[in-house]
Protein backbone atom coordinates (compact mmCIF):
# COMPACT_ATOMS: atom_id res chain seq x y z
CA UNK A 1 0.00 0.00 0.00
CA UNK A 2 1.65 3.29 -1.09
CA UNK A 3 -0.22 5.30 1.60
CA UNK A 4 1.94 5.37 4.73
CA UNK A 5 0.38 6.09 8.14
CA UNK A 6 2.60 8.02 10.57
CA UNK A 7 0.23 7.92 13.52
CA UNK A 8 2.80 6.33 15.85
CA UNK A 9 5.34 9.09 15.11
CA UNK A 10 2.80 11.87 15.75
CA UNK A 11 1.65 10.10 18.92
CA UNK A 12 5.28 9.85 20.09
CA UNK A 13 5.80 13.58 19.46
CA UNK A 14 2.71 14.37 21.54
CA UNK A 15 3.73 11.77 24.18
CA UNK A 16 0.33 10.15 23.89
CA UNK A 17 -0.56 6.48 23.86
CA UNK A 18 -2.96 4.89 21.37
CA UNK A 19 -5.33 4.10 24.25
CA UNK A 20 -5.42 7.78 25.28
CA UNK A 21 -6.07 8.81 21.69
CA UNK A 22 -8.81 6.20 21.43
CA UNK A 23 -10.55 7.68 24.47
CA UNK A 24 -10.08 11.25 23.22
CA UNK A 25 -11.46 10.69 19.70
CA UNK A 26 -14.07 8.09 20.73
CA UNK A 27 -12.87 5.48 18.23
CA UNK A 28 -12.21 1.92 19.35
CA UNK A 29 -8.64 0.90 20.09
CA UNK A 30 -9.02 -1.96 17.59
CA UNK A 31 -9.93 0.44 14.76
CA UNK A 32 -7.12 2.87 15.65
CA UNK A 33 -4.73 -0.06 15.72
CA UNK A 34 -5.88 -1.05 12.22
CA UNK A 35 -5.19 2.52 11.08
CA UNK A 36 -1.79 2.71 12.81
CA UNK A 37 -0.55 -0.54 11.29
CA UNK A 38 -1.61 0.52 7.78
CA UNK A 39 -4.23 -2.22 7.46
CA UNK A 40 -7.17 0.17 6.95
CA UNK A 41 -8.70 0.29 3.46
CA UNK A 42 -10.25 3.74 3.95
CA UNK A 43 -10.35 6.57 6.49
CA UNK A 44 -13.46 8.68 7.12
CA UNK A 45 -12.98 12.47 7.08
CA UNK A 46 -14.67 12.53 10.50
CA UNK A 47 -12.01 10.15 11.88
CA UNK A 48 -9.21 12.21 10.36
CA UNK A 49 -10.76 15.41 11.71
CA UNK A 50 -11.04 13.99 15.25
CA UNK A 51 -7.43 12.72 15.23
CA UNK A 52 -6.07 16.02 13.85
CA UNK A 53 -8.11 17.93 16.42
CA UNK A 54 -6.77 15.93 19.36
CA UNK A 55 -3.17 15.69 18.10
CA UNK A 56 -3.18 19.31 16.84
CA UNK A 57 -1.71 18.35 13.50
CA UNK A 58 -2.49 18.37 9.77
CA UNK A 59 -3.70 15.30 7.82
CA UNK A 60 -0.43 15.42 5.89
CA UNK A 61 1.48 14.70 9.10
CA UNK A 62 -0.48 11.49 9.61
CA UNK A 63 -0.63 10.26 6.03
CA UNK A 64 1.89 10.35 3.22
CA UNK A 65 2.06 8.86 -0.25
CA UNK A 66 5.01 6.80 -1.39
CA UNK A 67 4.73 5.34 -4.92
CA UNK A 68 4.99 1.59 -5.01
CA UNK A 69 8.13 0.29 -6.73
CA UNK A 70 6.57 -3.05 -7.68
CA UNK A 71 6.14 -3.56 -11.42
CA UNK A 72 2.56 -3.31 -12.65
CA UNK A 73 1.35 -1.52 -9.53
Amino acid sequence: MPIIVHLDEVLARRRMSLTELSEAVDITLANLSILKTGKAKAVRFSTLEAICDVLECQPGEILSYRPDDRPGS
Partner: protein, 173 residues
Amino acid sequence: MRKREGLIWGASVIVRIACISNRLFLLAVAIGLAATWILAGFFGRLLAEPNPEVNLPAAMTGIRLLMLIGIAMAVATDRLLVPLAKIIATARAGDPFILANAQRLQAIGWALLALQLLDIPCALLARFWPSLGSAAPSGDVSVGGWIATLMVFVLSRVFAVGSVMRDELAGTV
Protein backbone atom coordinates in the same frame (compact mmCIF):
# COMPACT_ATOMS: atom_id res chain seq x y z
CA MET B 1 -35.58 -8.47 18.36
CA ARG B 2 -36.75 -11.68 20.03
CA LYS B 3 -39.81 -11.64 17.73
CA ARG B 4 -37.51 -11.44 14.69
CA GLU B 5 -35.38 -14.33 15.97
CA GLY B 6 -38.56 -16.34 16.47
CA LEU B 7 -39.60 -15.58 12.89
CA ILE B 8 -36.24 -16.76 11.53
CA TRP B 9 -36.35 -19.88 13.71
CA GLY B 10 -39.91 -20.58 12.50
CA ALA B 11 -38.87 -20.10 8.86
CA SER B 12 -35.93 -22.45 9.41
CA VAL B 13 -38.21 -25.18 10.76
CA ILE B 14 -40.79 -24.72 7.99
CA VAL B 15 -38.14 -24.87 5.25
CA ARG B 16 -36.56 -27.98 6.80
CA ILE B 17 -39.95 -29.74 6.98
CA ALA B 18 -40.72 -28.65 3.39
CA CYS B 19 -37.34 -29.95 2.22
CA ILE B 20 -37.89 -33.38 3.82
CA SER B 21 -41.50 -33.57 2.55
CA ASN B 22 -40.40 -32.62 -0.96
CA ARG B 23 -37.71 -35.33 -1.00
CA LEU B 24 -40.22 -37.89 0.22
CA PHE B 25 -42.59 -36.74 -2.54
CA LEU B 26 -39.78 -37.07 -5.11
CA LEU B 27 -39.04 -40.60 -3.91
CA ALA B 28 -42.72 -41.55 -3.96
CA VAL B 29 -43.25 -40.23 -7.51
CA ALA B 30 -40.06 -41.94 -8.76
CA ILE B 31 -41.27 -45.24 -7.24
CA GLY B 32 -44.73 -44.61 -8.72
CA LEU B 33 -43.24 -43.99 -12.16
CA ALA B 34 -41.23 -47.20 -12.00
CA ALA B 35 -44.37 -49.02 -10.80
CA THR B 36 -46.30 -47.99 -13.94
CA TRP B 37 -44.04 -50.43 -15.83
CA ILE B 38 -43.56 -53.07 -13.13
CA LEU B 39 -47.26 -53.12 -12.10
CA ALA B 40 -48.73 -52.10 -15.47
CA GLY B 41 -51.75 -54.41 -15.01
CA PHE B 42 -52.64 -52.93 -11.63
CA PHE B 43 -52.43 -49.37 -13.00
CA GLY B 44 -54.49 -50.38 -16.03
CA ARG B 45 -57.27 -51.73 -13.79
CA LEU B 46 -57.05 -48.57 -11.65
CA LEU B 47 -57.51 -46.33 -14.72
CA ALA B 48 -60.24 -48.48 -16.27
CA GLU B 49 -62.30 -48.76 -13.07
CA PRO B 50 -63.92 -45.28 -13.11
CA ASN B 51 -64.17 -45.15 -16.92
CA PRO B 52 -64.13 -48.51 -18.78
CA GLU B 53 -64.03 -46.75 -22.18
CA VAL B 54 -60.76 -44.94 -21.42
CA ASN B 55 -57.94 -45.14 -23.98
CA LEU B 56 -55.65 -47.13 -21.69
CA PRO B 57 -52.27 -46.74 -23.50
CA ALA B 58 -52.84 -42.96 -23.88
CA ALA B 59 -53.95 -42.61 -20.26
CA MET B 60 -50.90 -44.60 -19.08
CA THR B 61 -48.55 -42.39 -21.14
CA GLY B 62 -50.30 -39.30 -19.76
CA ILE B 63 -49.86 -40.53 -16.18
CA ARG B 64 -46.15 -41.23 -16.84
CA LEU B 65 -45.65 -37.77 -18.37
CA LEU B 66 -47.42 -36.26 -15.36
CA MET B 67 -45.10 -38.16 -13.01
CA LEU B 68 -42.05 -37.01 -14.98
CA ILE B 69 -43.23 -33.40 -14.61
CA GLY B 70 -43.76 -34.10 -10.89
CA ILE B 71 -40.16 -35.35 -10.58
CA ALA B 72 -38.84 -32.27 -12.41
CA MET B 73 -40.91 -30.03 -10.12
CA ALA B 74 -39.63 -31.80 -7.00
CA VAL B 75 -36.01 -31.44 -8.19
CA ALA B 76 -36.56 -27.72 -8.91
CA THR B 77 -38.22 -27.28 -5.50
CA ASP B 78 -35.24 -28.97 -3.86
CA ARG B 79 -32.91 -26.57 -5.71
CA LEU B 80 -35.05 -23.77 -4.25
CA LEU B 81 -35.31 -25.01 -0.66
CA VAL B 82 -31.67 -26.00 -0.06
CA PRO B 83 -30.23 -22.51 -0.79
CA LEU B 84 -33.16 -20.94 1.09
CA ALA B 85 -32.26 -23.02 4.16
CA LYS B 86 -28.65 -21.83 3.86
CA ILE B 87 -29.75 -18.18 3.59
CA ILE B 88 -31.90 -18.59 6.69
CA ALA B 89 -28.92 -20.17 8.50
CA THR B 90 -26.79 -17.09 7.73
CA ALA B 91 -29.62 -14.84 8.94
CA ARG B 92 -29.76 -16.84 12.18
CA ALA B 93 -25.99 -16.45 12.53
CA GLY B 94 -26.50 -12.67 12.16
CA ASP B 95 -24.53 -12.21 8.92
CA PRO B 96 -26.82 -12.58 5.88
CA PHE B 97 -25.32 -9.82 3.67
CA ILE B 98 -22.66 -11.93 2.01
CA LEU B 99 -21.86 -12.63 -1.63
CA ALA B 100 -22.69 -16.33 -1.18
CA ASN B 101 -26.29 -15.38 -0.41
CA ALA B 102 -26.49 -13.37 -3.63
CA GLN B 103 -25.47 -16.51 -5.51
CA ARG B 104 -27.98 -18.56 -3.49
CA LEU B 105 -30.75 -16.08 -4.37
CA GLN B 106 -29.78 -16.42 -8.02
CA ALA B 107 -30.02 -20.23 -7.70
CA ILE B 108 -33.48 -19.78 -6.15
CA GLY B 109 -34.39 -17.52 -9.10
CA TRP B 110 -33.37 -20.22 -11.61
CA ALA B 111 -35.34 -22.84 -9.64
CA LEU B 112 -38.42 -20.58 -9.63
CA LEU B 113 -38.00 -20.01 -13.37
CA ALA B 114 -37.84 -23.79 -13.91
CA LEU B 115 -41.03 -24.22 -11.87
CA GLN B 116 -42.74 -21.51 -13.91
CA LEU B 117 -41.64 -23.12 -17.18
CA LEU B 118 -42.94 -26.50 -15.98
CA ASP B 119 -46.41 -24.94 -16.05
CA ILE B 120 -46.16 -25.12 -19.86
CA PRO B 121 -46.06 -28.94 -20.18
CA CYS B 122 -48.77 -29.09 -17.49
CA ALA B 123 -50.96 -26.76 -19.57
CA LEU B 124 -50.21 -28.81 -22.72
CA LEU B 125 -51.18 -32.04 -20.94
CA ALA B 126 -54.38 -30.48 -19.62
CA ARG B 127 -55.25 -29.19 -23.09
CA PHE B 128 -54.25 -32.07 -25.36
CA TRP B 129 -54.48 -35.19 -23.16
CA PRO B 130 -58.19 -35.77 -22.52
CA SER B 131 -57.56 -39.39 -21.52
CA LEU B 132 -56.09 -38.14 -18.24
CA GLY B 133 -59.60 -37.17 -17.13
CA SER B 134 -59.74 -35.80 -13.58
CA ALA B 135 -56.01 -36.51 -13.12
CA ALA B 136 -55.17 -33.72 -15.61
CA PRO B 137 -53.29 -30.79 -14.04
CA SER B 138 -54.78 -27.33 -14.05
CA GLY B 139 -53.12 -25.59 -16.97
CA ASP B 140 -53.13 -22.15 -15.36
CA VAL B 141 -50.28 -19.66 -15.76
CA SER B 142 -49.34 -17.95 -12.49
CA VAL B 143 -48.66 -14.24 -13.01
CA GLY B 144 -47.61 -13.94 -9.36
CA GLY B 145 -45.06 -16.71 -9.88
CA TRP B 146 -43.45 -14.88 -12.79
CA ILE B 147 -43.32 -11.63 -10.77
CA ALA B 148 -41.78 -13.52 -7.81
CA THR B 149 -39.16 -15.03 -10.14
CA LEU B 150 -38.25 -11.60 -11.50
CA MET B 151 -38.17 -10.17 -7.98
CA VAL B 152 -35.76 -12.87 -6.74
CA PHE B 153 -33.35 -12.18 -9.63
CA VAL B 154 -33.47 -8.43 -8.84
CA LEU B 155 -32.96 -9.15 -5.12
CA SER B 156 -29.98 -11.33 -5.99
CA ARG B 157 -28.39 -8.37 -7.82
CA VAL B 158 -29.20 -6.06 -4.87
CA PHE B 159 -27.54 -8.55 -2.49
CA ALA B 160 -24.46 -8.83 -4.73
CA VAL B 161 -23.97 -5.03 -4.86
CA GLY B 162 -24.78 -4.67 -1.14
CA SER B 163 -22.28 -7.31 -0.08
CA VAL B 164 -19.52 -5.69 -2.18
CA MET B 165 -20.33 -2.32 -0.57
CA ARG B 166 -20.23 -3.91 2.87
CA ASP B 167 -16.85 -5.50 2.13
CA GLU B 168 -15.55 -2.08 1.12
CA LEU B 169 -16.81 -0.60 4.39
CA ALA B 170 -15.28 -3.42 6.44
CA GLY B 171 -11.79 -1.87 6.27
CA THR B 172 -12.99 1.70 6.88
CA VAL B 173 -11.83 3.41 10.06
